[in-house]
Each structure stands twice: as C-alpha cells, then as structure tokens.
C-alpha cells in the first residue's frame, strides 16, 4: 500500500486528521501543502478524484492511498482507527458509537462552517485578497467544485454578509454550550472515553478560543477540557508540524453553510 497524507497547517480538518493518525500509531508520509495557495487542487498522479473534487468539507486534508484521494476528516480518523485494527478512537458499543457519530455530525455540519467563516475573515481573507488577479484566476480555475470555488470567491471579494457572521457567532456559542452540558457530569472526555469526538471538536473550537475569547469566559468545563485535549501527545505532535507561529489562527475555506437556511 502506498499512502501519503497531504495536509494544511494543523488546525480544523487537518488538525483532526493529523492527531488521529498519531493516536492510531500508524506511520505514513505526511506532506504539508499550502492550502491557501490552492495546492490541494494541483495534486498529481491520482486515479480516483471524486472525494477531492466534490468533498463536502472544503479545503480539508487529502489522504492518497493507492491513487485514490480520500477526504472528510471524521471518516479519515475512522479509517486510521480501523486500519490500525481498532486504536480505541471509536466506542465498540453500538449506541455509544451512534452518540459519537451524532456528535461529530453536529460539529462538522454546524460548528465547522461557522468557525471556518469567522477564522477566514480574521486572517485568511487578507492573504487571499492579496493574491495577484492572474494567479487567483488560475487557482480558482483548478477547483472542480463550483460551490467550493464560490466560497473562495466570496472570501476573496470580502462579500460575506453580516447575517452570516452573526449566525456563525451564534453557532460557535451553541457549540460551547453543548460542550458545557456534555461535560457537566465531570467526565474527562466528551463521550466518556477519549474518541474522535474530542479531536474534531477541539480542532474547530480551539481556534475560536483564540479569536473569540469572550465567548469562552464562563465556559469553565470547556476550557479545562480544551486544555486536556491540547496536552495529549497526539495533539502536541500534530501542532508541532506547524510552520507558522500560531497554527490555530490558520483557516481555509471550509464546508458550506446549510443551503436550507
């Protein structure tokens, strides 16, 4: 099996997958690419590309196994867990597994689009807007997905409206609230035992604590839990792959906001 993990700076979807890889104990080649330069859309030698071309997650990491491009951070974390023969990242009880998957889906459908939008506006918008026109045209021309290309364009043009920002801020607060409630019984990790839910939630919430610290002012349990996740060797190792001083500020165009409202 030949496998390469192409990833961005360790934040968001890239952080989830890098940390899950560490947790699984598998070793494979990891290559840092510049997601904000559109490197993800210039990968070569791929035999199957649909998951890269039409992934829901946006600019997440790409695992290439035997020429097949694999995407979506939660599913890649599950893949590492299962390929390692069960690394303990998923509950074995069916109901606990359902609860974990439901939690992860809440995070990837609600928190990650919101966090990506706020994070991009805070840092990446200026970088993308500064790309020379010809280069930006070439970059976006390589993006297969029309809707992902539109998210790049909106970021470039700074055409994101106030209602979307307010909605995203509300979703971040809602996610913190969910964490506070989940951790209310004093549990160490979100699902009880450590799981993919901790990795995916940390990956999108840690950057929000940097950018929207006020929202975490009263979130005592969530703050303590974020600190516990940050101290995990897998997360420390993933963050150590950063080539920028503050990787938790590094955001890229993410999943789309729910089309139904």
């Amino acid at each position: 099996m030949s496998a390469i993990l192409y990833h961005g700076q360790p934040n968001g979807a890239s952080l989830t997958v890098l940390a899950a890889l560490e947790e699984s104990g598998l070793t494979l080649e990891c290559r840092l690419i510049d997601l904000l330069a559109g490197d993800r859309h210039a990968l070569t030698g791929l035999a199957e590309t649909i998951a890269l071309d039409l992934g829901v997650e946006g600019e997440g990491p790409v695992l290439v196994v035997d020429g097949e491009a694999m995407t979506e951070s939660v599913f890649l974390a599950q893949y590492f867990d299962e390929a390692a023969g069960g690394a303990g990242l998923q509950p074995t009880d069916a109901y606990a597994h359902w609860e974990m998957m439901m939690w992860c889906r809440q995070i990837t459908e609600r928190l990650s689009p919101a966090a990506a939008l706020l994070g991009n506006l805070a840092g990446s918008q200026a970088i993308v807007a500064a790309i020379p026109a010809n280069d930006f045209a070439a970059l976006t021309a390589r993006i297969v997905s029309d809707d992902l290309r539109e998210r790049w364009q909106a970021l470039h043009d700074d055409s994101i409206d106030a209602a979307q920002i307010a909605d995203s801020e509300a979703k971040v607060i809602a996610a913190i609230d969910r964490c506070e409630k989940q951790l209310a019984d004093g549990r160490e990790w979100l699902m009880g035992p450590f799981s993919i839910a901790d990795l995916v939630t940390y990956s999108w919430l840690a950057g929000m604590r940097v950018l929207r610290g006020d929202a975490f002012a009263d979130a005592v349990r969530t703050n303590a839990w974020l600190d516990r996740v940050a101290a995990r060797p897998s997360v420390v190792a993933a963050l150590a792959r950063a080539t920028v001083p503050e990787p938790l500020r590094a955001f890229v165009p993410g999943p789309e906001i729910n089309r139904w409202g």
């Binding site: 694999m70 599913f75 890649l76 599950q78 893949y79 390929a83 109901y95 998957m101 439901m102």
Partner: protein, 260 residues
C-alpha cells in the same frame, strides 16, 4: 425486551433508510406510520419521542433501558452494529471509508437538492390544498428554525430561481458521478451491498421516471443495472409493500421499465 419501534413515513428518502436496513438485517419492528403530509412529526405525541420533530426516529428497548435514535444514516449504522444478520458495511477500511463518503455526499450535498425539487413538485402542492391558517399553525409548531424556513418555502412555492437552478445542477452532476462510480464497482463504494446502496437507492429509485432527461437505459446503463439489482432484493420488495401513497406505485412502473 429488545423491541424496536420505527417512526417513519413512506419507504422513500430518509424514512426508507432505516426501514430497509431493519428488513435486510431481519430485525422485527413495530411500524408507526408518521404522515409527513399531515405534519404528524410535529404533534406532541411524536415530539415526546423526538423533540427535533424530524422523521425517522427509532426506539429500541434494550437490556439497560430505552434508546431513542434519530438521523436516518446514523440509525442505519446503529442497526447494522447492534443486531445480528448480514453485515451491511464492508470489512475493508478503505471500502468502509468510501461507503461513508458516499452517504455524506448524498445526505449533505446531493440529497437536499433532490429534496428541494421533490418538495417543490410534490410535497408543496400536496399540502398547499389545506386551510392556510391551519398550515400556518402547523408550521409554527416545527421545533427547528431551519425546518420552519424549508417548510414555508415548500408550501409557498418560493424556492428562488437561483436555488432551484443550483439544485438541478447538483442533481445532474450527482447522477453523472453515480453513473461513473457504478461503472467501477457493482455497488456504491464497494463490491457488496451496503448501507451506501440503501441510502442512495432511497433517493434515486425513481430517477428514470423523475429525471428522464438525465437517467435511463441509454443515458445511465450502470445506474439502471444497479437499480435492477437492488429492486429485486426481498427486503426492498417487503419494504415497498409498506408504502401507502402513490410513491409506492412507482415501484411497479420502474420494474416494468427495467425488465423491458
């Protein structure tokens, strides 16, 4: 002990997923038909089961108490892991990843576009015949704000031209990609019948009728071969027999076309 109750509408889209998964596994279940067109899913007795007011939902009275499960794809995964019967997930991790990828692609990217079109041509006109005040009151009872927005749009027929065009674009692209995928493998994402087939079948079983410009024997032979393979499964036949509306009659029409 171990009693399963499924709250579902027609064997179609989201409701059809857990119905088919339970049938394939051979798990007996109590069927509680929940009529979406009568807004049964927003009535107090249903909200007591699922406060989100979405269908389907499933209860499982297990050894250590009652479990309430929601979200159709997640319910299918639970059913597959919890109960004996044929495994509806592949054994190989990369195949399992592909099955999950296709289900997410359908649930979050392609499915909402199918729904928007389906609601504008079917659900909207059906419920629009009701008393407007009764409808307004029914919508006010919907717990999730985004569902309220969706229902208002469906009932008033005011999906924008841009929204409908984007949905049609996604349906066209999605069908083309499914056709490509089924040219590589006999089933969606792997070489065996899995939850991905059940998931996608529930939104594509009537494509040759609903999207004749995009799907059919000449345009999408791989999809048609796959549909035939799925249509002839015993579990599919039994599940379709549980339908109560015209949706179920499509089964016979498509079978006739496939077998021509």
């Amino acid at each position: 002990m171990d009693e399963v109750t499924l709250y579902h509408w027609e064997p179609n889209a989201n409701s059809g997923k857990p119905m088919l998964a339970l049938m394939e596994k051979g798990v007996p279940f109590v069927s509680r038909y929940t009529d979406m067109l009568q807004f049964d899913q927003h009535k107090p007795e249903y909200l007591a089961i699922n406060p989100q007011g979405t269908i389907p939902a499933m209860t499982h009275d297990a050894k250590n108490g009652r479990r309430v499960l929601t979200e159709s794809t997640a319910i299918m995964e639970y059913v597959n892991e919890q109960f004996d019967g044929p495994n509806l997930m592949p054994g190989d991790p990369q195949d399992s990843w592909r099955v999950r990828w296709w289900m997410k692609f359908m649930d979050q990217w392609l499915g909402p576009s199918f729904s928007m079109i389906g609601w504008s041509v079917f659900v909207g006109p059906m419920v629009r015949q009701r008393d407007p005040e009764e409808l307004a009151a029914a919508i006010d009872r919907i717990p999730m704000p985004e569902r309220r927005v969706a229902w208002r749009k469906a009932i008033n027929g005011d999906f924008s031209a841009a929204e409908m065009a984007e949905s049609r674009r996604r349906v066209g692209l999605g069908i083309a990609k499914l056709e490509e995928e089924l040219g590589k493998r006999p089933y969606v994402g792997s070489n065996q019948y899995t939850l991905a087939d059940i998931n996608i079948f529930n939104s594509t079983y009537s494509l040759p009728m609903s999207q004749p410009d995009l799907a059919g024997k000449d345009k999408t032979p791989n999809i048609m071969r796959w549909l035939k393979r799925v249509y002839t499964r015993e579990a599919v036949k039994k599940t379709w027999a549980m339908g109560k509306t015209d949706l179920a009659s499509r089964y016979g029409l498509i079978m006739a076309e496939i077998e021509e």
